[in-house]
Subunit: 210 residues, 2 copies
DNA sequence: CATACTACCATACATTTGTATGGCAAATAT
DNA sequence: ATATTTGCCATACAAATGTATGGTAGTATG
């Protein structure tokens, strides 16, 4: 029966997802009503029943906040990749999502973090390869020796970070590229975040990237 | 004030985590009481207040299921690794967790999947290295060419899977190891799951694994 | 035109849920 | 030995929450 959702239903479903993501629990009928300006919980209930009928949620009747999101049962969740990163030559980070990657359900983005898809094999000495997805956490402080993503002048770089006095050294994993040394106060340098992990999907038929 | 938790408090905290993991929402006082055989919600409330005082949870007072797990606010969530896997030589998968890995918060296990830590560099031709964590999905059907984890006789193998007629060929990424060929009906062969991804934490100071 | 669906409201009701206070027994600390 | 903490219970209460039924309006659908 999974017909298309009406506009209202879509908005409510989105709210259910966002609310749960943020607060860690589903909203109550009252909370949904307040969000959408409904003066009545019954209205909300009807929408929820519609969403249930269409297979988007499962309601635990009689139970407070008994809303289960069936979307989350999927094994894979599609997440946006907001740019591409290469080690040697800077690559622009696009403002919007340019690509998506299917991450296992277990992989859920904290709102702050984002993904970059690695282009080329210039990071191979750090065991990061073409097509890998790096997880960047913008809230981590850069620590000497950690791999960071940064904006430098006209593009983005992914390099190992070393702060030495008032100078910052950005070292590529690939010895072919000489370290970049800049002043701490460099006007067009901004650390985007620390690379906290690498994820590689095994979806590809071969699992190889060459 | 984060003193050590009493035994009861630990059990309740664990229940909060498990419940939320499974049902997608925190439990109510009644549900906790039922679980532990308390005839009274006040008892539960006292334990929750103790947990809050000790900084383990945050309660949204007056709100149904207003229990926030402060553990989950952390950027990293500790997940159990249930075994170690090498490409060449089979390694036992232990029944319980033998080790843990800190995954970014974004990485949350679907109940079905599990993690294996890779030992040695024998999978290096698949760009999987010592210390990497592979994500195994037991519900995926093995497809020719995919890397699978399987139990063979006395241990576990992680190899590329090829089914050719009534024979199954398990190919190591490392050419030093000859392919294993078994009958489809081999009594002690069981596919554990398909390797759907690889995760590598960048926690290590250097980010290198050698 | 009649029918069905969507979207909202009002009112009423029963449960669930969290809160509050007081009491009791056993273990632990001073 | 006396106080404190821990762990549990009983009872009562108020608010939050989900349910139920009936009503109005607009818009599609046949």
């Amino acid at each position: 029966m999974t017909r298309n959702l009406t506009e209202t239903q879509q908005k409510i479903l989105q709210y259910l997802i966002d609310f749960k993501e943020e607060k860690g629990r589903p909203p109550s009928l009252s909370e949904i009503a307040a969000e959408f300006g409904y003066k009545n919980r019954s209205t909300v209930r009807e929408h929820l029943m519609a969403l249930e009928k269409k297979g988007m949620i499962k309601r635990d009747e009689k139970i407070a906040r008994g809303i289960e999101l069936l979307l989350e049962e999927n094994m894979f969740v599609t997440r946006p990749i907001i740019g591409e990163a290469a080690a040697g030559s800077p690559v622009t980070i696009y403002p919007g999502a340019i690509d998506t990657v299917d991450l296992p359900n277990m992989i859920r983005m904290p709102k702050e973090s984002f993904l970059l898809k690695v282009k080329g094999n210039s990071l191979k000495d750090a065991y990061i390869f073409n097509g890998d997805v790096i997880i960047v956490n913008p809230n981590s402080e850069p620590i000497n020796g950690r791999i960071i993503a940064a904006v430098l002048d006209d593009g983005a770089v992914v390099k190992r970070y070393f702060k030495k006095g008032k100078k910052i050294e950005l070292v590529s994993e690939n010895p072919e590229f000489a370290p970049i040394v800049i002043e701490e106060t460099h006007p067009n340098f901004h650390v985007v975040g620390v690379v906290v992990g690498v994820y590689r999907s095994m979806d590809a038929k071969t699992g190889r990237y060459s």
